[in-house]
Symmetry: C2
């Protein structure tokens, strides 16, 4: 594979040219606070789901410039020799706090706060945003589908509609946000996501008859397998399936046609044949709206492809990575913010709480603090508010509880728990304002 | 990093369960022809651009099941021991033909044809589609932007809005389709795409004044650098930039505001200050329509982020991987096709030509052949037609001219050449039918 193992060049060139210039003019060592946040929720979503944090922390651990990376930067004259020396020894030694993976976020939520020298923090911008923007977009779409599906299981099967590495990240993000399984084997190996899948149309076409294909599949995978019945005529397919498998057949899958109509007809046919416990899985071009529209249909499980891995119309979450505070020449602190039209940011370190009323979220409270001092432990105005930020890395030491399979399982559990706090209006799929307002409190 | 080096588990589980069943029922060794094609061009696009082929071939070369992959499949009981033995020795030994990378495609174009045993070809489905669907979606969007930009240079800077690995693939695809540079350093290292970038808003905010920031940047990067002038007030920013850099300043960058208005005002101001050769780069939320709308504005270069890496509304190309012909039990061949509603496919091996009239493309001619025999070398009805398919791998031996940096350069050159064949109507950005019709000819 052509990809390098190090994550260090997943960096926009301007980060290194800024580093280069900052090492020259003496500002590289100024302590800085960078913040990742979204100015708005794209697509009229009512809430966003943070995902990617556990992946990002591992990638920051691997953010080291090896021989190959340094040679490229030298040969291309991206930076000068002093900067190459700095990068050779680079490792992040700062502090990262942020929302737990699986947490909900709203406009302005300080999803990630990176504190360190300008030099060490500025170079993480692209990597942090790539991971969080992709994974959070998928998780947000997945959560909406999970809300729409209710108790029916959802499987992610969109790997073929996403870049081969993003597909793995997408399966992971969808699982965190409520999907139960994925078709992607690498997501199973790397992240412990349960995998599923039985047969494609090619399986039926490989055989001289549909019956041959069904017989061979049942022989290999057992009667509890799911047979794909729409390669030719669905009615004949179902009839053949039950004739071959018997009424204990695990399931049939429908991948085409007008699903409410077809599902109802197939259920009726299965019941008439005595296969009353044979499940119906549908998998054709589903998104959260199609899933919701099937709520009254006799469907037992959904498989979702394109729409979940592409964020169902919102393929990227739109989070930005902004400098919000820094030291000045005397070591004092300065909150900073740009004033650009439509892109103004809010300076100062943020501490975030979710205000709750009887267990239901009522607002995102963001306290803007006046410096590098310790964040407030509680929000005085909302004593029951839930603190949203946790320490993810301290003096460069990354909390490995967030990483790997353990991190994924914890994120999924956290998401399930915090989704319970959402007000009912947040569960509607239509475009709207965020489900709760963001309230900034200046300290 | 948690990603495995092998590409072998970038596979949907059902591919391996089909393999498992086929090894048991004796159909695994049937020779098969699988075809990658798109049923339609999504988003009312007038043409599509094939990209990813060179990446895919390298990934197929690395499609091997090592200890870690086999252990996962065994521990999860995905396949039985005989299948594990088969996978341990797996390497693709078949033939791949396809459109050159950078080639244009239309509905039904046989973008890739994979011939081999069912066993060896079925397991490549997800990997092939992940790569081609992602990269072709980006390349298609990029080509539209390149058409809109005309002679003005275009830089890709969307890494932060795509998964960290897809970002590299996106930079590569955009370069093939006409972009001149990328912000992504890994795309420079891995694929030879020229990289660019100078400074972000954080650079200005790091300093006590905008003037300090500009002075330091010029000191480090030279007068020919590009200064970002919209952190605070643009008019003041431009004035400061020229005062500090002199009238030989290379460029200014605008990243916010109503760009036609702002660009005109900045050009007037620069000229009045004597900086008549200072270039204006704009970078705020551009897509092909915004680029076209700036055609009459005094803009010298464009930087495009989100829209190009997310396919400008079409984040995935919608290509499918379908069995179109196979051997039967006697070794004879059978063209096959599913009949599913709205998803019917066309059986038989395809040979594709682009019919030309005086150098301008008039139709996509697809000859459907009756078996495994050699494809026709010319299209008899269109003697000037250009053959579209080349051999990419023969008996498992991959043509390395398509891989790496050399492959990228060749793809970019090929794209530039074949885009010249498009009829004028194909260059319009509005939604439409494909620019040329696809004509199937049954042999």
């Amino acid at each position: 594979m052509s990809e390098s193992r190090s994550s260090a060049l997943h960096t926009d060139r301007y980060e290194l040219t800024m580093l280069d210039a900052a090492l020259q003019d003496g500002t590289a060592g100024r302590r800085c606070v960078f913040e990742v946040f979204g100015r708005r929720l794209s697509g009229g979503r009512r809430f966003g789901v943070v995902a990617g944090t556990g992946r990002l922390l591992s990638l920051i651990r691997d953010f080291r410039f090896g021989h190959e990376e340094l040679a490229f930067l030298r040969d291309e004259h991206v930076v000068d020799p002093a900067t190459l020396d700095y990068l050779e020894d680079y490792r992040f030694t700062g502090t990262i706090t942020g929302y737990r993976e699986g947490e909900l976020y709203f406009p302005g939520s300080p999803v990630l706060t990176i504190e360190g020298t300008f030099a060490e923090a500025v170079v993480l911008e692209t990597l942090a945003l790539s991971v969080l923007n992709h994974d959070s977009a998928v998780a947000t779409a997945a959560a909406r589908m999970s809300v729409a599906a209710g108790d029916r299981p959802l499987a992610e099967m969109g790997s073929r509609r996403a870049g081969e590495q993003s597909a793995v990240a997408a399966a992971r993000a969808a699982y965190i946000a409520g999907f139960g399984a994925t078709s992607n084997l690498e997501a199973g190996r790397a992240w412990g996501v349960p995998t599923m899948g039985t047969a494609a149309h090619a399986w039926t076409l490989l055989h001289d008859t549909e019956e041959d294909a069904f017989r061979a599949q049942i022989s290999a995978l057992g009667t509890d397998t799911t047979l794909l019945v729409d390669t030719y005529d669905i009615r004949t397919g179902v009839e053949t399936a039950i004739r071959v498998a018997g009424t204990e057949l695990g399931g049939v899958r429908l991948d085409s046609g007008d699903l409410p109509t077809v599902a109802a007809a197939v259920r009726e046919q299965l019941d008439a044949l005595g296969a009353t416990r044979t499940r119906i899985t549908v998998t054709s071009d589903l998104d959260e709206f199609a899933i919701a529209a099937l709520a009254a249909s006799p469907v037992d499980a959904y498989g979702v492809g394109t729409s979940v891995v592409t964020g169902s119309g919102v393929p990227t979450a739109g989070m930005v990575y902004k400098l919000v505070a820094r030291q000045d020449a005397d070591g004092g602190w300065v909150p900073v913010a740009k004033a650009s039209t439509d892109k103004a940011s809010r300076g100062g370190r943020k501490t975030a709480f979710r205000a709750l009323d009887d267990g239901t979220a009522t607002s995102e409270q963001i306290i803007v603090a006046d410096g590098f001092d310790t964040s407030p432990a509680v929000d005085a105005a909302h004593p029951d508010a839930r603190p949203l930020q946790v320490v993810l890395a301290e003096r460069g030491d990354i909390d490995n509880a967030c990483e790997g399979r353990v991190g994924v399982a914890a994120a999924r559990a956290h998401h399930e728990r915090v989704r319970e706090e959402l007000p009912v209006r947040a569960l509607a799929l239509s475009r709207s304002d965020p489900a709760i307002p963001t309230v900034f409190v200046q300290r």
